[in-house]
Protein backbone atom coordinates (compact mmCIF):
# COMPACT_ATOMS: atom_id res chain seq x y z
CA UNK A 1 0.00 0.00 0.00
CA UNK A 2 1.32 3.42 -0.87
CA UNK A 3 2.12 5.70 2.02
CA UNK A 4 -0.50 8.35 2.66
CA UNK A 5 0.19 11.65 0.94
CA UNK A 6 -0.96 13.46 4.09
CA UNK A 7 2.35 14.23 5.80
CA UNK A 8 0.61 14.95 9.11
CA UNK A 9 -0.07 11.21 9.43
CA UNK A 10 3.55 10.23 8.80
CA UNK A 11 5.43 8.93 11.87
CA UNK A 12 8.71 10.57 11.04
CA UNK A 13 9.70 13.69 9.19
CA UNK A 14 13.17 14.44 7.91
CA UNK A 15 15.23 15.69 10.88
CA UNK A 16 16.54 18.49 8.67
CA UNK A 17 12.98 19.63 7.93
CA UNK A 18 12.11 19.45 11.64
CA UNK A 19 15.23 21.43 12.58
CA UNK A 20 14.57 24.05 9.91
CA UNK A 21 10.97 24.27 11.16
CA UNK A 22 12.16 24.93 14.71
CA UNK A 23 14.55 27.56 13.33
CA UNK A 24 11.70 29.32 11.51
CA UNK A 25 9.52 29.04 14.62
CA UNK A 26 12.28 30.93 16.45
CA UNK A 27 12.13 33.71 13.88
CA UNK A 28 8.41 34.00 14.47
CA UNK A 29 8.62 34.11 18.28
CA UNK A 30 11.39 36.74 18.11
CA UNK A 31 9.55 38.84 15.54
CA UNK A 32 6.00 38.70 16.82
CA UNK A 33 6.47 38.23 20.58
CA UNK A 34 10.05 39.29 21.37
CA UNK A 35 10.63 35.84 22.93
CA UNK A 36 13.09 32.95 22.58
CA UNK A 37 11.95 29.32 22.90
CA UNK A 38 12.67 27.74 26.26
CA UNK A 39 11.23 25.13 28.60
CA UNK A 40 12.90 24.64 31.94
CA UNK A 41 11.99 27.93 33.67
CA UNK A 42 8.41 26.70 33.68
CA UNK A 43 9.37 23.99 36.15
CA UNK A 44 10.45 26.75 38.55
CA UNK A 45 7.05 28.35 38.03
CA UNK A 46 5.42 25.04 38.96
CA UNK A 47 7.52 24.97 42.14
CA UNK A 48 6.53 28.58 42.81
CA UNK A 49 2.86 27.78 42.39
CA UNK A 50 3.01 24.77 44.71
CA UNK A 51 4.96 26.81 47.27
CA UNK A 52 2.48 29.67 47.05
CA UNK A 53 -0.37 27.43 48.21
CA UNK A 54 1.55 26.44 51.33
CA UNK A 55 3.64 29.54 51.99
CA UNK A 56 2.92 32.56 49.75
CA UNK A 57 5.52 34.62 51.62
CA UNK A 58 8.26 32.37 50.21
CA UNK A 59 7.29 33.29 46.63
CA UNK A 60 7.10 37.08 46.91
CA UNK A 61 7.59 39.79 49.48
CA UNK A 62 10.22 40.58 52.09
CA UNK A 63 11.14 37.08 53.19
CA UNK A 64 10.83 35.43 49.78
CA UNK A 65 13.21 32.77 48.50
CA UNK A 66 15.79 34.64 46.43
CA UNK A 67 15.41 32.38 43.39
CA UNK A 68 11.62 32.44 43.27
CA UNK A 69 11.69 36.23 43.70
CA UNK A 70 14.23 36.55 40.87
CA UNK A 71 12.52 34.13 38.48
CA UNK A 72 8.86 34.90 39.14
CA UNK A 73 7.86 37.97 41.12
CA UNK A 74 10.60 40.21 39.71
CA UNK A 75 10.47 38.89 36.15
CA UNK A 76 7.35 37.33 34.69
CA UNK A 77 3.80 36.43 35.76
CA UNK A 78 3.25 33.06 37.46
CA UNK A 79 1.43 31.80 34.35
CA UNK A 80 3.70 33.38 31.76
CA UNK A 81 4.34 32.93 28.03
CA UNK A 82 6.61 29.94 28.59
CA UNK A 83 4.21 28.08 30.87
CA UNK A 84 1.66 28.20 28.04
CA UNK A 85 4.36 27.14 25.60
CA UNK A 86 5.05 24.00 27.66
CA UNK A 87 1.33 23.21 27.78
CA UNK A 88 1.34 23.68 24.00
CA UNK A 89 4.26 21.26 23.61
CA UNK A 90 2.21 18.55 25.32
CA UNK A 91 -0.77 19.27 23.06
CA UNK A 92 1.34 19.33 19.90
CA UNK A 93 3.14 16.07 20.71
CA UNK A 94 -0.15 14.44 21.67
CA UNK A 95 -1.83 15.44 18.41
CA UNK A 96 1.16 14.43 16.28
CA UNK A 97 1.45 10.99 17.92
CA UNK A 98 -2.29 10.29 17.55
CA UNK A 99 -2.41 11.42 13.91
CA UNK A 100 0.38 8.98 13.01
CA UNK A 101 -0.55 6.13 15.36
CA UNK A 102 2.79 6.60 17.09
CA UNK A 103 1.57 6.85 20.70
CA UNK A 104 3.62 4.40 22.76
CA UNK A 105 2.84 3.39 26.34
CA UNK A 106 6.50 2.69 27.08
CA UNK A 107 7.26 1.60 30.67
CA UNK A 108 10.80 0.21 30.43
CA UNK A 109 12.80 0.96 27.25
CA UNK A 110 14.44 -2.03 25.57
CA UNK A 111 17.99 -0.81 26.06
CA UNK A 112 17.42 -0.18 29.78
CA UNK A 113 15.78 -3.59 30.13
CA UNK A 114 18.75 -5.30 28.42
CA UNK A 115 21.15 -3.66 30.91
CA UNK A 116 19.17 -3.33 34.16
CA UNK A 117 16.31 -5.81 33.71
CA UNK A 118 12.60 -5.40 33.00
CA UNK A 119 11.59 -4.33 36.53
CA UNK A 120 9.36 -1.27 36.18
CA UNK A 121 10.06 0.09 39.66
CA UNK A 122 13.81 0.11 39.02
CA UNK A 123 13.36 2.11 35.81
CA UNK A 124 10.86 4.50 37.40
CA UNK A 125 13.21 5.28 40.29
CA UNK A 126 16.07 5.67 37.78
CA UNK A 127 13.99 8.04 35.66
CA UNK A 128 12.93 10.06 38.71
CA UNK A 129 16.50 10.52 39.91
CA UNK A 130 17.72 11.28 36.37
CA UNK A 131 15.00 13.90 35.91
CA UNK A 132 15.89 15.48 39.24
CA UNK A 133 19.60 15.67 38.41
CA UNK A 134 18.90 16.97 34.90
CA UNK A 135 16.65 19.81 36.05
CA UNK A 136 19.06 20.83 38.80
CA UNK A 137 21.74 21.11 36.12
CA UNK A 138 19.45 23.09 33.82
CA UNK A 139 18.66 25.64 36.50
CA UNK A 140 22.31 25.97 37.51
CA UNK A 141 23.31 26.49 33.87
CA UNK A 142 20.41 28.87 33.25
CA UNK A 143 18.61 26.81 30.59
CA UNK A 144 18.13 23.44 28.92
CA UNK A 145 18.29 21.95 25.43
CA UNK A 146 15.74 24.43 24.08
CA UNK A 147 16.60 27.68 25.90
CA UNK A 148 20.37 27.21 25.81
CA UNK A 149 20.91 24.54 23.15
CA UNK A 150 18.67 25.84 20.37
CA UNK A 151 17.73 29.45 21.25
CA UNK A 152 21.09 30.32 22.76
CA UNK A 153 23.02 28.41 20.12
CA UNK A 154 21.33 30.30 17.29
CA UNK A 155 21.99 33.64 19.03
CA UNK A 156 25.68 32.67 19.22
CA UNK A 157 25.62 33.02 23.02
CA UNK A 158 28.89 32.12 24.72
CA UNK A 159 26.97 30.67 27.70
CA UNK A 160 24.93 28.39 25.45
CA UNK A 161 27.82 26.97 23.46
CA UNK A 162 29.67 26.21 26.69
CA UNK A 163 26.50 24.48 27.96
CA UNK A 164 25.99 22.58 24.68
CA UNK A 165 29.54 21.19 24.60
CA UNK A 166 29.52 20.24 28.30
CA UNK A 167 26.11 18.57 28.01
CA UNK A 168 27.10 16.59 24.95
CA UNK A 169 30.40 15.44 26.46
CA UNK A 170 28.78 14.40 29.76
CA UNK A 171 25.91 12.69 27.91
CA UNK A 172 28.28 10.59 25.81
CA UNK A 173 30.42 9.59 28.80
CA UNK A 174 27.31 8.71 30.83
CA UNK A 175 25.72 6.65 28.05
CA UNK A 176 28.89 4.60 27.52
CA UNK A 177 29.35 4.23 31.30
CA UNK A 178 25.79 2.92 31.64
CA UNK A 179 25.55 0.70 28.57
CA UNK A 180 29.08 0.22 27.23
CA UNK A 181 30.12 -0.46 23.66
CA UNK A 182 27.88 -3.55 23.63
CA UNK A 183 24.88 -1.38 24.41
CA UNK A 184 25.13 0.11 20.93
CA UNK A 185 23.67 -3.10 19.53
CA UNK A 186 20.66 -2.91 21.87
CA UNK A 187 19.45 0.67 21.35
CA UNK A 188 16.56 -0.58 19.20
CA UNK A 189 15.64 -3.57 21.47
Amino acid sequence: MAESTNVLTHKRWSPYAVGAGIGVLSWITFLTMDKALGTSSSFVHAVGLATWFGAPGVVSGEGANAYLAKEISAKTPMFDWQVFLVIGVAIGAFVSSRLSGDAVKECVPGLWSWRFGPNKAVRYVGAFVAGLVMMFGARLAGGCTSGHGISGGLQLAVSSWVFFLCTFAAGVVTAFALFGIKGRAHVLD
Partner: protein, 186 residues
Protein backbone atom coordinates in the same frame (compact mmCIF):
# COMPACT_ATOMS: atom_id res chain seq x y z
CA UNK B 1 3.56 39.45 41.89
CA UNK B 2 1.36 39.23 38.82
CA UNK B 3 -0.47 36.05 38.05
CA UNK B 4 -1.10 35.88 34.35
CA UNK B 5 0.49 37.06 31.12
CA UNK B 6 -1.21 39.20 28.45
CA UNK B 7 -3.82 37.50 26.23
CA UNK B 8 -1.48 37.88 23.23
CA UNK B 9 1.33 36.11 25.09
CA UNK B 10 -1.00 33.35 26.27
CA UNK B 11 -2.26 32.62 22.75
CA UNK B 12 1.17 33.14 21.18
CA UNK B 13 2.89 30.91 23.74
CA UNK B 14 0.30 28.20 23.34
CA UNK B 15 0.49 28.26 19.52
CA UNK B 16 4.30 28.28 19.49
CA UNK B 17 4.25 25.36 21.93
CA UNK B 18 1.83 23.33 19.82
CA UNK B 19 4.06 23.76 16.75
CA UNK B 20 7.21 23.03 18.79
CA UNK B 21 5.71 19.87 20.34
CA UNK B 22 4.37 18.70 16.98
CA UNK B 23 7.80 19.14 15.38
CA UNK B 24 9.64 17.39 18.24
CA UNK B 25 7.29 14.39 17.96
CA UNK B 26 7.58 14.24 14.16
CA UNK B 27 11.34 14.45 14.59
CA UNK B 28 11.14 11.40 16.91
CA UNK B 29 13.16 13.11 19.64
CA UNK B 30 10.33 12.33 22.06
CA UNK B 31 11.74 8.76 22.03
CA UNK B 32 14.16 7.39 24.64
CA UNK B 33 16.00 5.33 22.02
CA UNK B 34 16.63 8.37 19.81
CA UNK B 35 18.11 10.50 22.61
CA UNK B 36 20.26 7.74 24.12
CA UNK B 37 21.09 6.56 20.58
CA UNK B 38 22.65 9.96 19.94
CA UNK B 39 24.91 9.71 22.99
CA UNK B 40 25.93 6.20 21.86
CA UNK B 41 26.29 7.45 18.25
CA UNK B 42 23.90 4.89 16.79
CA UNK B 43 21.29 7.52 15.84
CA UNK B 44 22.25 11.06 14.85
CA UNK B 45 18.75 12.55 14.74
CA UNK B 46 19.38 14.91 17.67
CA UNK B 47 22.46 16.48 16.08
CA UNK B 48 20.71 16.80 12.71
CA UNK B 49 17.73 18.60 14.26
CA UNK B 50 19.68 20.85 16.61
CA UNK B 51 22.29 21.97 14.09
CA UNK B 52 19.63 22.60 11.40
CA UNK B 53 17.58 24.66 13.86
CA UNK B 54 20.66 26.65 14.92
CA UNK B 55 21.80 27.39 11.35
CA UNK B 56 18.34 28.33 10.05
CA UNK B 57 17.48 30.22 13.24
CA UNK B 58 20.73 32.21 13.34
CA UNK B 59 20.39 33.42 9.75
CA UNK B 60 16.85 34.68 10.39
CA UNK B 61 17.40 36.18 13.83
CA UNK B 62 20.63 38.01 12.92
CA UNK B 63 19.03 38.99 9.60
CA UNK B 64 16.03 40.52 11.36
CA UNK B 65 18.35 42.26 13.83
CA UNK B 66 20.37 43.74 10.95
CA UNK B 67 17.23 44.94 9.19
CA UNK B 68 15.90 46.49 12.39
CA UNK B 69 12.86 44.19 12.46
CA UNK B 70 13.79 43.13 15.99
CA UNK B 71 15.49 45.38 18.49
CA UNK B 72 17.42 43.04 20.72
CA UNK B 73 18.44 39.48 21.42
CA UNK B 74 17.79 37.28 24.48
CA UNK B 75 21.27 36.07 25.29
CA UNK B 76 21.73 34.34 28.65
CA UNK B 77 24.53 35.46 30.91
CA UNK B 78 27.89 33.78 30.44
CA UNK B 79 28.39 32.74 34.04
CA UNK B 80 30.84 30.20 32.74
CA UNK B 81 31.43 28.12 35.88
CA UNK B 82 27.67 27.63 36.31
CA UNK B 83 27.07 27.10 32.56
CA UNK B 84 29.79 24.43 32.43
CA UNK B 85 29.02 22.65 35.71
CA UNK B 86 25.27 22.86 35.03
CA UNK B 87 25.83 21.53 31.52
CA UNK B 88 27.83 18.57 32.82
CA UNK B 89 25.17 17.72 35.43
CA UNK B 90 22.44 18.21 32.82
CA UNK B 91 24.19 15.84 30.42
CA UNK B 92 24.47 13.10 33.05
CA UNK B 93 20.74 13.46 33.80
CA UNK B 94 19.60 13.72 30.18
CA UNK B 95 21.58 10.66 29.13
CA UNK B 96 20.23 8.60 32.06
CA UNK B 97 16.66 9.76 31.53
CA UNK B 98 16.64 9.59 27.73
CA UNK B 99 14.72 12.85 27.45
CA UNK B 100 15.37 16.53 27.96
CA UNK B 101 12.78 18.80 29.60
CA UNK B 102 10.93 19.74 26.38
CA UNK B 103 11.04 16.32 24.76
CA UNK B 104 10.16 14.74 28.12
CA UNK B 105 6.93 16.74 28.24
CA UNK B 106 6.24 15.59 24.67
CA UNK B 107 6.97 11.97 25.61
CA UNK B 108 4.56 12.12 28.55
CA UNK B 109 1.86 13.38 26.18
CA UNK B 110 2.74 10.58 23.78
CA UNK B 111 2.12 8.02 26.54
CA UNK B 112 5.56 7.16 27.91
CA UNK B 113 5.13 6.01 31.51
CA UNK B 114 8.73 6.25 32.62
CA UNK B 115 8.94 9.76 31.15
CA UNK B 116 6.21 10.76 33.62
CA UNK B 117 8.43 9.62 36.51
CA UNK B 118 11.22 11.63 34.93
CA UNK B 119 8.87 14.64 34.81
CA UNK B 120 8.11 14.26 38.50
CA UNK B 121 11.85 14.12 39.15
CA UNK B 122 12.28 17.33 37.13
CA UNK B 123 9.82 19.13 39.41
CA UNK B 124 11.80 17.96 42.45
CA UNK B 125 15.03 19.01 40.71
CA UNK B 126 13.65 22.53 40.15
CA UNK B 127 12.58 22.61 43.83
CA UNK B 128 16.00 21.37 44.97
CA UNK B 129 17.75 24.14 43.02
CA UNK B 130 15.28 26.77 44.22
CA UNK B 131 15.90 26.02 47.88
CA UNK B 132 19.64 25.42 47.44
CA UNK B 133 20.01 28.72 45.55
CA UNK B 134 20.65 31.02 48.53
CA UNK B 135 23.52 28.77 49.61
CA UNK B 136 25.11 28.13 46.20
CA UNK B 137 24.37 31.27 44.16
CA UNK B 138 27.99 32.38 44.66
CA UNK B 139 28.97 30.10 41.80
CA UNK B 140 27.09 32.42 39.42
CA UNK B 141 29.71 35.07 40.14
CA UNK B 142 32.62 32.84 39.14
CA UNK B 143 33.79 33.70 35.60
CA UNK B 144 30.81 35.96 34.92
CA UNK B 145 31.26 37.68 31.56
CA UNK B 146 27.69 38.97 31.18
CA UNK B 147 25.30 38.49 28.26
CA UNK B 148 27.89 38.14 25.54
CA UNK B 149 27.88 36.47 22.13
CA UNK B 150 30.76 34.75 20.37
CA UNK B 151 30.90 37.79 18.05
CA UNK B 152 31.27 40.15 21.05
CA UNK B 153 34.16 38.24 22.61
CA UNK B 154 36.05 37.70 19.35
CA UNK B 155 35.42 41.17 17.93
CA UNK B 156 34.25 39.89 14.53
CA UNK B 157 30.92 40.24 12.71
CA UNK B 158 28.24 37.78 13.89
CA UNK B 159 27.93 36.73 10.25
CA UNK B 160 31.41 35.21 10.46
CA UNK B 161 30.09 32.97 13.25
CA UNK B 162 26.81 32.26 11.43
CA UNK B 163 28.87 31.15 8.41
CA UNK B 164 31.23 29.17 10.65
CA UNK B 165 28.39 27.16 12.21
CA UNK B 166 26.79 26.62 8.80
CA UNK B 167 30.06 25.18 7.46
CA UNK B 168 30.69 23.07 10.58
CA UNK B 169 27.12 21.75 10.49
CA UNK B 170 27.44 20.91 6.81
CA UNK B 171 30.66 19.02 7.55
CA UNK B 172 29.02 17.14 10.46
CA UNK B 173 26.05 16.19 8.24
CA UNK B 174 28.39 14.98 5.49
CA UNK B 175 30.38 12.90 7.99
CA UNK B 176 27.20 11.41 9.46
CA UNK B 177 25.95 10.45 6.00
CA UNK B 178 29.25 8.84 5.14
CA UNK B 179 29.10 6.72 8.31
CA UNK B 180 25.42 5.86 7.81
CA UNK B 181 26.06 4.84 4.19
CA UNK B 182 28.88 2.52 5.27
CA UNK B 183 26.68 0.93 7.97
CA UNK B 184 23.76 0.20 5.64
CA UNK B 185 25.02 -0.49 2.11
CA UNK B 186 22.22 -0.12 -0.41
Amino acid sequence: MSWIDSPANIVGGLLAGVVFGFLLQKGQVTKYRVIVGQFLFTDNTVLKIMLSAIVVGSVGVYGMLGLGLIEHLHIKAATLAANALGGLIFGVGMSSLGYCPGTGVGAIAEGSRHAAWGGLGMLFGAAAYTFAYPAISGILEVADYGKVSLADVTGVSPWVWVAFFAVVSGAVFALIHKIEAKKAPA
